[in-house]
């Protein structure tokens, strides 16, 4: 097959690829996949591709580790973050197809998609280079990628596709691979679940959301709800949301509609002659978004129709007129009053929005700090076990009981912590030692001393300032 023959040449172009990718975008996020892929799917065909993937992967720095790991279904969304991805994914699908012939498990296909992208890219660098990075960026921001991504029928003149075709310039050059892509796309997407475009947010946002929706393996209930988000490859892979897409018999997972996806939808609807004439099936076909089921389209179309109908009715009818008149006469003065009232309302709303954002950020950081401290705690526990310092425990008896209420996680690592990190509250160590027997209760990371926060969670200065002002 064509793709296979490419590989030998790709090997040498691996570095070139890396360079290209680094210049293009955040291709580094791809680096995560190989590891889970390797772990999870040892039965992958031991072909050239796999070994080459490993080589290439070693060169990459993982930025969006978890997000990529979790989103093997979110391949489409990765485009939105990195222009390099878009073309990569295109090619990955082609490579994927090769691998698919070996009947590798679905996940591995998806993961190999990304991994093999690197290999595919150089070979098809012609296509890649023909399109300027700016195009890709534009495409990525367009976010139609996220849904349709590569798995287009290139020959199709669908609205969404045409954009991508033109901008990527692949249509003309990809004739030979069209059928291949299609097949692979179908195969991939038949199993894979396109993560809803909500992933854009997750991918763009750095920690902690980078971790992606690592759906807890225990929490099966939440699985179908999470927009077909594929769970992290590294874990929880037992909850593959993909089956829900293929057989459709499970409870319909929700699709997270983004503006871009919606635009694609609107285009498709307009092509079919408007919201009244368009049928869900037709729209679904035209959109060609993998992972989108007819249920999604149906419900969305219904909402769309309702939204359109109301304003149209109000424009023609006099309902809004009368309500406006009730609030104010057609007098200009009252018109100003209305505007003022609206402005006032707007101010309040803006304030609430601001505060909510701030609050949310704080919450995120608090939790992150908690996690960090928990990590440290566990590390210290292990260290202290290894060190086996019974002398430290002897000093525990003298501590005052009043400190129990602090229930700090650092209680247990008071002494070891002090020894390893001398700048952290040395005066608190003897207070903490008595908490050894209360380990279980001290999971809550409630560091009683703001100084700890400074030293340990250095990324939270504002939070610390606020806290210290209150303590």
């Amino acid at each position: 097959m064509e793709a296979r023959s490419i590989f030998p040449s790709q090997r040498s172009e691996g570095k070139q690829l890396s360079a290209m990718n680094s210049s293009v975008g955040r291709s580094s996020s791809l680096s995560v996949l190989p590891t889970p892929a390797e772990k999870k799917y040892p039965k992958l065909p031991d072909c050239q591709q796999v070994s080459m993937e490993k080589e290439l992967w070693a060169n990459r720095v993982g930025q969006h580790r978890a997000s990529i790991a979790t989103n093997n279904g979110a391949i489409g969304h990765m485009f939105s973050t990195s222009s390099g991805f878009t073309s990569e994914l295109h090619y990955s699908s082609s490579l994927q197809h090769q691998m698919h012939a070996n009947s590798a498990p679905f996940f591995s296909q998806a993961s190999n998609n990304v991994t093999s992208v690197a290999q595919a890219l150089p070979s098809q660098s012609v296509l890649f280079q023909t399109t300027s990075p700016s195009n890709f960026t534009r495409e990525n921001n367009d976010a139609t990628w996220s849904d349709d991504s590569l798995f287009f029928d290139f020959s199709d003149g669908g609205g969404c596709h045409s954009q991508i075709q033109n901008s990527t310039g692949m249509a003309s050059q990809d004739q030979s691979r069209q059928s291949d892509f299609q097949e692979w796309a179908d195969q991939i997407m038949a199993d894979d679940t396109l993560v809803a475009t909500g992933w854009n947010d997750l991918l763009v946002e750095p920690d902690p959301e980078i971790k992606g929706p690592k759906l807890p393996s225990d929490f099966t209930v939440s699985q179908p709800q999470i927009n077909q988000q594929v769970p992290a490859l590294s874990g929880d892979s037992n909850h593959v949301a993909s089956p829900s897409v293929t057989n459709g018999t499970q409870n319909k997972p929700r699709m997270r509609w983004t503006p871009e996806l919606h635009e694609c939808f609107v285009e498709a609807v307009n092509r079919l002659g408007g919201s009244e004439k368009a049928t869900p099936k037709g729209v679904l076909k035209l959109m060609k978004v993998e992972g989108l089921t007819i249920y999604h389209v149906k419900s969305h179309l219904q909402k769309y129709r309702t939204a359109r109908y109301r304003p149209e009715a109000s424009e023609g009818g006099s309902d809004t007129k009368t309500s406006l008149e009730e609030i104010s006469s057609l007098d200009l003065k009252t018109g100003i009053e209305i505007t003022e009232a609206l402005r006032l309302q707007m101010e309040v709303q803006k304030r609430l929005h601001e505060q909510l954002e701030i609050q949310r950020n704080l919450q995120l950081r608090i939790e992150e700090q908690g996690r960090y401290l928990q990590m440290m705690f566990e590390k210290q526990c292990k260290t202290s076990e290894k060190l086996k310092m019974p002398s430290l425990l002897d000093d525990a008896s003298g501590a005052s009981p009043s400190d129990i209420t602090q229930s700090s996680k650092e209680n247990d690592l008071g002494k070891p912590l002090a020894m390893n990190e001398t700048d952290i509250i040395p005066e608190k160590t003897e207070d903490r030692n008595q908490q050894f027997d209360q380990k279980q209760r001290i999971v809550e990371v409630e560091s009683s001393n703001p100084d700890q926060v400074t030293n340990v969670g250095s990324e939270l200065p504002p939070a610390k300032r606020l806290k210290s002002s209150l303590s």
């Binding site: 909500g198 854009n200 997750l202 946002e205 902690p208 959301e209 971790k211 929706p213 690592k214 807890p216 225990d218 939440s222 709800q225 999470i226 927009n227 929700r254 509609w257 503006p259 919606h262 635009e263 909402k303 939204a307 109000s314 424009e315 023609g316 809004t320 406006l324 057609l330 018109g335 100003i336 009053e337 209305i338 003022e340 609206l342 402005r343 006032l344 309302q345 707007m346 309040v348 709303q349 803006k350 304030r351 609430l352 505060q355 909510l356 954002e357 609050q359 949310r360 608090i366 939790e367 700090q369 996690r371 279980q440 999971v443 809550e444 990371v445 409630e446 939070a463 606020l466 806290k467």
Partner: protein, 269 residues
């Protein structure tokens, strides 16, 4: 306890169709209490020999509890995403309408007269403000539910000595209902388009001749209620810890919002 009451009040103020979508704080709290009592009873009645079955009981209880929490989260996610979807649709529609109106074209394509233009703009403004308000309220919904879940988890850990909170909250943080970036973007876009819709000559604050005392618009009322609730919640509590949020620092004096009398909920047309 206080949070429960505040939550209840907020729910009452909120839009009717949202009422049952909030976190069932009271029920979950009861549940937590029940769990503890069963554990204690077990320990007391059977003595040390029951430690084996008690631990299994604990894990059972915990699983059930986790199941409940997941159900709640599912509820949030479903509602949130549905609302999000509708907002996406509405935003597009509003944008189209604004384009039409600013081009001074009526729905039929003909040029609009002066009064028609004014009328359309008026309608648009009102709709945009309401749209913005609803989005912010959805954000508030997300925040409130998150707080509720966090509190419940904290109670659970406190009562049972379990270690559920930290890992669970990490998962919650990544749920769709809490990842409100899309919503934030929509709101920002809305705010920026506002600039075009609102006449520039009115930028300076004129005398507030509006009758503030009788705000009947339910979105506005809900927003105010949300702000008030938020401020109260962050005033400081008895169980203040480093997981708590600092007090809310609203620049404007609270008097202004207090002057707004909150009438009974009126459904949005």
């Amino acid at each position: 306890m206080k949070f429960g009451k505040r939550l209840k009040r907020q729910i009452e103020e909120t839009l009717p169709e949202w009422r049952d979508k909030f976190v069932s704080y009271k029920d979950l709290k009861k549940r937590v209490r029940l769990i503890c009592t069963t554990l204690e009873e077990e320990a007391n009645s059977n003595g040390p020999a029951s430690s084996g079955c008690a631990s299994t009981r604990v894990s059972e209880e915990e699983e059930e509890f986790i199941f409940l929490l997941n159900a709640e989260i599912e509820k949030f996610n479903a509602f949130f995403m549905e609302q999000e979807e509708e907002f996406v649709i509405r935003q597009k529609e509003l944008q189209e309408r604004i384009q039409n109106v600013t081009a001074t074209l009526g729905p039929n394509g003909r040029r609009m007269s002066e009064s028609e233009y004014k009328e359309e703009m008026g309608k648009l403004r009102k709709e945009m403000v309401n749209f913005h308000g609803e989005m912010v309220l959805l954000e508030n919904y997300s925040s409130l539910n998150y707080t509720g879940i966090a509190k419940i988890l904290k109670k659970y850990d406190k009562r049972t000595g379990g270690l559920l909170r930290l890992p669970f909250i990490q998962k919650v943080l990544q749920q769709p209902f809490f990842t409100t970036d899309l919503l934030s973007n929509l709101i920002k876009e809305c705010e920026s388009t506002m600039q075009t819709v609102f006449p520039t000559e009115m930028q300076e604050r004129t005398e507030k001749t509006v009758d503030i005392a009788a705000i009947e618009d339910s979105i506005f009322r809900n927003t105010l209620a949300a702000l008030v609730t938020m401020r109260e919640m962050r005033r400081g509590s008895s169980t203040y810890s480093h997981f708590s949020l600092p007090p809310l620092n609203l620049a404007e004096p609270p008097d202004q919002s207090d002057t707004f009398t909150l009438l009974s909920p009126i459904p949005i047309q």
